[in-house]
């Protein structure tokens, strides 16, 4: 029982990442009608916003190491620490969550640039062409990152206050379940971002237009002028959501340049399982598949069905597509005629 709870928890943070990426994918697909294979790259770029920000904060000066007295030793001390003492040190330690400050404007700009510079020319072209051009873009983006950051994973740490494990067994009335705190933070963070996106879509006029557009692609054109700008903003939001998912994921998985591709394939499966163009479907399927994947990697399960952990997500996708072609929460008329 405890093991199952633990595995479900393990699935939540991964599920959160899937959900956030899938949310943006399906938002872009539902409003713009574009299949964005570069969405995983946006997740990866978010993660590297974190890396960049952490590096900026730790720009250091070589100073004499006072603790070593019998010879002249030097150590690197971040300027922040030199200038602001303990506050500076805390800022350095909290680099990952603070990266959000950098990631939001950067991802927004990247999103705008992508949509204006490339995606908008592909609204009227076939899905196959959209897939291909964004696939090419994804390769380019990850190669650029590789050029600047190298091929090896770059580990980042969670703030010390959130780094340890928490005993959350009590919450479930179970015995000792020790669980990494940052994963819980990630799960809560993903919920918050999802809530923010839904609130934005439900409560603002802009969100209403977007939802109407997703419900019926035909009416998008009727909803006022400046469709182009609305599309740009939608794409920007999706980029930010994917980027934030990447920023916060860095302490869980050290980012490398092909992180995006790994997540992209799975996120696409998530979108299809949830139902193309369904926001709620993307979120539900994201968590569902995250948890399923986690449960499937239990030793007891693997003993019954060897290798199931390797294929569970794809297997679910195949079954869902065959039994419910529109996905769990897809509607009629999306991607059909």
């Amino acid at each position: 029982m405890d093991a199952i709870i633990l595995q479900i928890l393990n699935g939540l943070d991964k599920g959160g990442a899937y959900a956030l990426i899938a949310l943006g994918l399906t938002l872009i697909f539902g409003t713009l009608g574009v299949v964005n294979f570069a969405h995983g790259a946006l997740f990866m770029l978010g993660a590297f916003c974190s890396v960049t920000f952490a590096r900026l904060l730790t720009i250091s000066e070589r100073v004499r190491d006072e603790s070593v007295t019998f010879f002249a030793a030097y150590k690197e001390v971040p300027y922040l620490e030199l200038w602001y003492g303990e506050t500076g040190k805390a800022i350095v330690e909290w680099a990952v969550p603070l990266s959000i400050l950098l990631a939001v404007p950067v991802m927004l700009l990247i999103g705008f640039a992508m949509e204006r510079g490339l995606i908008r020319f592909f609204y009227k072209r076939s899905h196959a062409e959209q897939i291909l051009v964004t696939f090419g873009l994804a390769i380019v983006l990850q190669e650029i990152v590789k050029y600047f950051f190298g091929a090896n994973p770059i580990p980042l740490t969670a703030p010390p206050a959130l780094a340890g494990s928490a005993d959350i067994g009590a919450l479930f009335g179970a015995s000792n379940i020790s669980y990494p705190m940052w994963r819980i933070v990630y799960f809560l963070f993903s919920l918050a971002v999802i809530a923010a996106v839904f609130a934005f879509l439900q409560l603002t006029t802009f969100g209403m237009v977007v939802r109407a557009g997703m419900a019926d692609r035909e009416t998008v054109g009727l909803l006022g002028i400046n469709i182009g700008r609305k599309f740009t903003i939608v794409f920007g939001i999706a980029a930010v959501v994917a980027g934030l998912a990447g920023v916060m994921y860095t302490p869980i998985l050290a980012p490398n340049y092909h992180l995006g591709m790994d997540f992209l394939v799975l996120s696409f499966v998530v979108v299809v399982v949830g139902g193309m163009g369904s926001l709620a479907g993307a979120v539900v399927a994201g968590f569902l598949l995250g948890i399923l994947q986690s449960l499937a990697s239990m030793t007891e399960v693997k003993a019954i069905v060897p290798g199931i952990d390797q294929i569970i997500i794809y297997l679910v996708a195949v079954v869902v597509l065959l039994v419910r072609p529109r996905g769990l929460m897809g509607r009629r008329g999306v991607m059909e005629s």
Binding site: V35, L118, F121, K124, R125, S126, H127, A128, E129, I131, L132, V133, F135, G136, L137, A138, I139, V140, E143, I144, K146, Y147, M261, V265, F268, V269, V272, M276, P306, G307, Q310, I311, Y314, L315, A317, V318, L321, L322, P325, M335, E336, S337
Partner: protein, 406 residues
């Protein structure tokens, strides 16, 4: 409306010349005579077999790279039968390539080092595998079909690395060894334990013989593709791509046609995979990864989707560029820009170095985008545009291209 999004008239596979030109003659070769078909195959065969001579000046006149041209040419030809002819974009074709390699290596281990047996078995196994995957995947069309094929390929890839290790030898990859049974070889001669190179009835397939073995199979594959395209079956595939709805209301059960195309195309991939094992008796799961599936899509697009020669050209161009770009380093770059002043030389090397060597993938990605954006018809479309431009005289310049037929 067409059922499949990929089958809409915006679909990539449509050759622009077909839709813009009022006359159909020679566009798909459908109107050409059998005699010109044989002529085409003869020219193709001559071009392929003389590659060692005419590709030598650009540094591709050695067997290693030429057999890659041939093998990936076969892979792309087969992929094009599915995507180019019927419009169904499979994103999991590498699964069949990998299966072919594993099957071939198993034949080397169990039966004989004879390449023909290995290649034959690779085709059969890949065909059966394609039948299973195609049967399920073809229940959906458009992007759903793409995702299904991708899912199956990823499953195969993951399983090859994990539980299927007894068959695939996991991360190490499947290799031949001295202790393999090789029943047939052992039956006919005791030297089987010594023989470690795949052969074709005694001719060891390394170096030039290896290339010619692949080249002959490429020519056969090309000839078969040509026949398929001009046949009734080929016509049905083009019709499905054009308007699947009408096909149904015209009395055709389209799924079996698509499944047949899928299996044939999987068998081509199996042949290519088998040949990879013939030229280097080793099979690894990375051959099944979805990036490998993406690669064959790119080759086909680069050359020209739905065209006959395009995929072969696309495969060769890509493998050539891969070879050239990835072997470049700063030293080579400095020599390339030798004619410039030292300062300019440094600048040029700094600019170009991210694109070569390790950065070859960057060039690949850019090439991918540029082709899709500016030349959706691929190299064949480029050639067509140039030749049309050359043929047109000034008088016709004013006339729109649709009526410029001579």
């Amino acid at each position: 409306m067409s059922e499949s999004v990929l089958n809409s008239d915006k679909a990539m596979g449509r050759s622009p010349a077909e839709s813009h030109s009022p006359k159909g003659d020679g566009m798909r070769g459908f109107m050409s005579s059998s005699r010109s078909d044989y002529l085409l195959v003869a020219v193709f065969a001559a071009a392929i077999l003389t590659m060692p001579i005419w590709l030598a000046p650009i540094g591709a006149g050695y067997p290693d790279i030429l057999q890659k041209f041939a093998i990936f040419g076969i892979f792309a030809l087969g992929f094009n039968i599915l995507f180019g002819f019927s419009g169904y974009l499979s994103f999991g074709h590498a699964a069949f390539l990998g299966t072919g390699s594993y099957a071939a290596v198993w034949m080397f281990k169990l039966l004989s080092m004879n390449a023909l047996i290995a290649v034959g078995f690779a085709i059969i196994v890949a065909g059966v595998f394609a039948l299973l995957i195609g049967y399920v995947s073809l229940r959906r069309s458009g992007i759903y079909f793409s995702i299904l094929t991708l899912a199956f390929a990823q499953m195969s890839y993951n399983l090859a690395y994990s539980v299927l290790t007894p068959i695939t030898n996991g991360e190490t990859g499947l290799q031949i060894s001295r202790s393999d049974p090789r029943i047939i070889d052992n039956f006919f001669g005791a030297d089987a334990h010594r023989l470690r190179v795949p052969d074709f009835f005694g001719i060891e397939l390394q170096g030039w013989p290896g290339f010619y073995f692949c080249a002959v199979l490429l020519i056969l594959a090309f000839f078969l593709t040509l026949r398929i395209r001009n046949s009734t079956f080929g016509l049905m595939l083009f019709a499905i791509k054009s308007n699947q709805n009408r096909m149904n209301y015209t009395g055709f059960s389209t799924r079996p046609y698509l499944l047949a195309a899928f299996v044939i195309s999987g068998m081509y991939a199996g042949l290519a995979g088998g040949l990879l094992a013939v030229t280097d008796p080793l099979a690894g799961a990375d051959r099944m990864q979805w990036t490998a599936s993406g690669e064959v899509v790119l080759m086909t697009i680069l050359g020209g989707v739905g065209t006959l020669l395009g995929p072969v050209i696309g495969a060769a161009v890509m493998k050539y560029l891969e070879q050239i770009f990835s072997s470049f380093n700063e030293g080579v770059l400095h020599r390339t820009f030798d004619f410039l002043t030292p300062e300019l030389q440094d600048i040029m090397v700094t600019i170009t170095s991210p694109f070569v060597g390790e950065g070859w993938q960057l060039t690949l990605g850019l090439m991918f985008m540029l082709v899709v954006i500016f030349l959706p018809g691929g190299i064949m479309e480029g050639i067509r545009r140039i030749s049309r431009g050359l043929r047109r005289d000034r008088r016709d310049d004013a006339a729109p291209p649709a009526h410029a037929g001579h």
